[in-house]
């Protein structure tokens, strides 16, 4: 799925030392851009994608032929306005849409990496993407924005590169994964590994695919992205194209059918090993530990203007965890705003059409842009 002409990528020739100790070099970093970089090069926004996202933020995704994952937020006249700003998004390393990942061929063995691929971290992902600034000759980004795992990358980015972003907007995220977060990720990983076609991660070399395992992983994860009320309202106990229960294990209920569908379309666009690697990176993410047990130390002397956004019905990365970031920033007098948006759509609220969120995001970005101040 990587050999697609629609995928732009950089070859990073600068060696990147990964947290696991290995070094990667001459590796591809796939990216996409929207809008145009102005002469002063002060209108660039780096968007970080979440677990199963990719570089195709907006418009038609050439691979899936569906709308980009953040089409509600990014586009002409939208919250992140492609008429005004130059938006860059890269596929994370470990991913499966053009950047170096476990589905790539290992040049040393001429075989697909699979689980011989090194373990990567959020820090590694961010360090790899930093090369984009040099490539586009951008001295300082106007903004770094991302939700969920994208938010973790925002936090890691401003921590690693203190004066490289004017504005930082971490959304529905956390400074480290809770036991519950790790538990759900482990459930997904075990589901993939339990598929007999996973073959200890070597499935691609043997022309197999652990689709069932990956599909169940997606189904379980999908539940965590929604809220109980949201699910109840949309599906309740409604039956799927039948008048009564069938006394079988078919998808009698609409929610079952919906989840099965979500699982089945996911396997067409995502690599099972990438799912293992990226969820691992999220579990390992701990910005507090990285900074000696004090999150504030991640942002010492920061001049960046922060806006932290959470959602009332998000129980995966709840408001309390987002607030911890705000508290750490306030403790050092950083410029931080915070708002919890009312929504019953759960963690997915940031990806969906949530007008109050999109309006707030839009106004904040536009009033924060230096030219509009």
């Amino acid at each position: 799925m990587n050999k697609n002409l629609n995928i732009k990528s950089l070859i990073i020739d600068k060696p990147l030392k990964l947290d696991c100790g290995q070094t990667i070099v001459n590796f591809p970093l796939a990216y996409e851009t929207y809008g145009s970089l102005n002469e002063k090069k002060d209108n660039a926004i780096l968007v970080f994608h979440a677990l199963t996202g990719d570089q195709f933020v907006s418009g038609l995704n050439p691979i899936t032929k569906k709308d980009g994952w953040w089409s509600y937020a990014v586009g002409s006249g939208k919250a992140i306005d492609t008429d005004k700003y130059f938006i860059i998004c890269a596929n994370v390393i470990g991913g499966c849409l053009g950047s170096l990942g476990p589905s790539n061929i290992n040049p040393d063995t001429n075989k697909i990496y699979g689980t011989t691929f090194p373990i990567i971290t959020i820090n590694d992902m961010v360090n790899a993407q930093y090369n984009l600034l040099e490539f586009f000759k951008i001295e300082k980004l106007f903004a770094v924005i991302g939700g969920s795992m994208g938010g973790m990358q925002v936090l890691q980015f401003v921590s690693n590169f203190p004066n490289k972003a004017e504005v930082a907007i971490p959304i529905a995220t956390t400074s480290n994964h809770s036991a519950q977060n790790i538990a759900f990720n482990e459930l997904g990983r075990q589901s993939i590994m339990a598929d007999t076609n996973w073959l200890s991660g070597d499935y691609s070399n043997q022309n197999k695919n652990p689709n069932k395992g990956l599909s169940v992983a997606r189904m379980a994860a999908h539940i965590t992205y929604l809220s109980k009320n949201g699910l109840q309202e949309k599906f309740g106990r409604k039956l799927q194209e039948r008048d009564d229960l069938k006394f079988s294990f078919d998808a009698d209920f609409q929610i079952e059918s919906y989840l099965r569908y979500q699982g089945s379309v996911f396997v067409d666009r995502f690599d099972a090993n990438s799912y293992l690697y990226i969820t691992r990176a999220m579990d390992y993410f701990d910005l507090i530990k990285q900074h000696g047990g004090n999150l504030s130390n991640a942002f010492t002397d920061t001049k960046t203007k922060f806006l932290v956004i959470s959602f009332t019905s998000d129980w995966l990365y709840p408001t309390s965890e987002n607030k911890e970031i705000v508290i750490a920033l306030n403790a050092i007098g950083a410029d931080v705003g915070f708002v919890e948006i009312e929504s019953d759509k759960g963690h997915d609220s940031f990806l969906l059409n949530t007008p109050k969120f999109l309006d707030t995001l839009k106004d904040f970005i536009n009033t924060s842009y230096p030219k509009n101040k």
Binding site: N330, A331, D335, V336, K356, F364, T367
Partner: protein, 198 residues
């Protein structure tokens, strides 16, 4: 209440860090930002207000001053403003002590329950006063702890809080409150503005 804003602005020195507690839709913050060289932040409980503030580019966090002021270190602001919201807190005493911990100085403004129209309303009508500055009925008012200018003076005195400046506001007219005119100002002022320090 543009006069109140102007009086607050006059109390604030330039190049200082200021926190507006209960900043509402950010009107005061904007006014101060436009008129003073200061670094101003806000904290506000209403989501709609916070969204408006953030949309205006103001640095505001959503939160409840009764709990969330605790995240600010001691003396992290030069001035902390509490404009007409003291009476709405469950525990005004705790809020004042938090203001004076977080801020080197605090500016507190209170709607004066000792204002003669308020007194007259209760005296003549025998019902809870409803006025321009106190527009709500007893059953839906957010104001849990109304006080008078005199009450606030006594409160500060008992807690050894220094009142640096105290100003009475009556419509558009402002005047200094002193020990000798306190009883009179407590009758004629609609609003009291205090600059305090622990």
């Amino acid at each position: 209440m543009k006069t109140e804003f102007k009086l607050i602005a006059d109390l604030i020195e330039t190049s200082t860090r200021v926190l507006d507690v209960g900043c509402g839709d950010g009107t005061l913050m904007e006014f101060l930002k436009d008129n003073k060289e200061i670094d101003i932040r806000g904290i506000e409980i209403s989501k709609n207000n916070v969204q408006q503030c953030i949309g205006k580019g103001l640095t505001v966090i959503e939160g409840d001053a009764e709990q969330d002021l605790s995240q600010f270190p001691d003396g992290s602001f030069d001035f902390v403003i509490l404009s007409q919201t003291l009476q709405a807190f469950l525990n005004p005493e705790k809020v004042i002590s938090e203001l004076l911990r977080v801020g080197k100085k605090a500016i507190v403004t209170i709607p004066n329950f000792g204002y003669w129209k308020v007194r007259l309303h209760l005296l003549m009508k025998g019902t809870m006063p409803v006025t321009r500055t106190l527009p709500d009925e007893w059953y839906n008012t957010p104001n849990l702890h109304m006080c008078t200018i005199k009450d606030f003076f006594t409160f500060c005195e008992n807690r050894k809080i220094n009142i640096y400046k105290s100003i009475a506001l009556q419509n558009l007219k402002s005047s200094k409150i002193t020990d000798t005119n306190l009883a009179l100002k407590n009758l004629t002022a609609v609003l009291g503005i205090f600059l305090i320090e622990k």
